[in-house]
Amino acid sequence: MLDQTQIANRAGLTEDEVRQIVRHELERSQKRDPAARKLAIIASKGTLDWAYPPLNLACAAAASGMEASIFFTFYGLNIIRKDFEKKLKITPVGNPGMPMPMPMPDIISGLPGMTSLATLMMRSRLRKHNVSTIRELLDLSRELGVKLIACDFTFEVFGYREEDFIEGVEFGGAAAFLSQARRAHVTLFI
């Protein structure tokens, strides 16, 4: 194997010139790397707040010319069920980070009706800031070609039926996700 100085001597180039060529070629190959254009996300949470990050990121990726796929597993399957608007809620219980009008201990926020109240509050806050609804983001995802994959394993364990899910959802197992993820530089577990 020749080192850079030997190559430079043979080719009549200076070592700096060879280094420059190598750097240039590396940059070119990195730009061509198809994995840099792929995003594979696992969405594992089934609450209104956690439905946003996977869909937002996938849509932003698709708008940047990336191929994005989201693998919905466990409670994340709520996001792509037909009744997602009923399923996706938010609770202040055990979530001290949630902005509330007043400090509220879990024993109060755990009272009946508090989850519905918190969900209404969050929805109105999102609407006030003109944040897209989950429905809009799901429509946009499908329009932009984001792959929505439902976890077959959870599907069976939770006793779901295919007709419970929105149009355009595919089904797959761990290997289906991995086959996407191994070809993607950006993989996220949400």
């Binding site: 937002n56 849509c59 010319g65 003109n130 944040v131 946009l140």
Partner: protein
């Protein structure tokens, strides 16, 4: 900077992340290479999203700025051809 004349304008004011970028990308699809899209936005994420997105996709951000009322303005030139 000399005055840039845009070929198309996108009013993304009031839209939140990632919608300004998504809508801009859609607008550019309808345009010819080399044409300029002007985007106005109010979402603070746009300040960093636009330069990052333009670089990733290979378009050119020819000018960006902020007006006195806080509105963000971006001029994006569509890239020549797909790589």
């Amino acid at each position: 900077m000399s005055k840039v004349i845009e070929d198309r304008m996108l009013d993304a004011r009031g839209l939140m992340c990632p919608m300004p970028v998504v809508k801009a990308s859609r607008e550019l699809m309808l345009m010819q290479p080399g044409q300029v899209l002007k985007v106005i936005a109010s979402d603070r994420a746009a300040r960093t999203d636009f330069p990052a997105w333009v670089e990733d996709v290979g378009h050119e951000l020819i000018h960006s700025g902020q007006e006195s009322d806080g509105t963000l303005v971006f001029y994006v030139r569509k890239r020549q051809e797909a790589e």
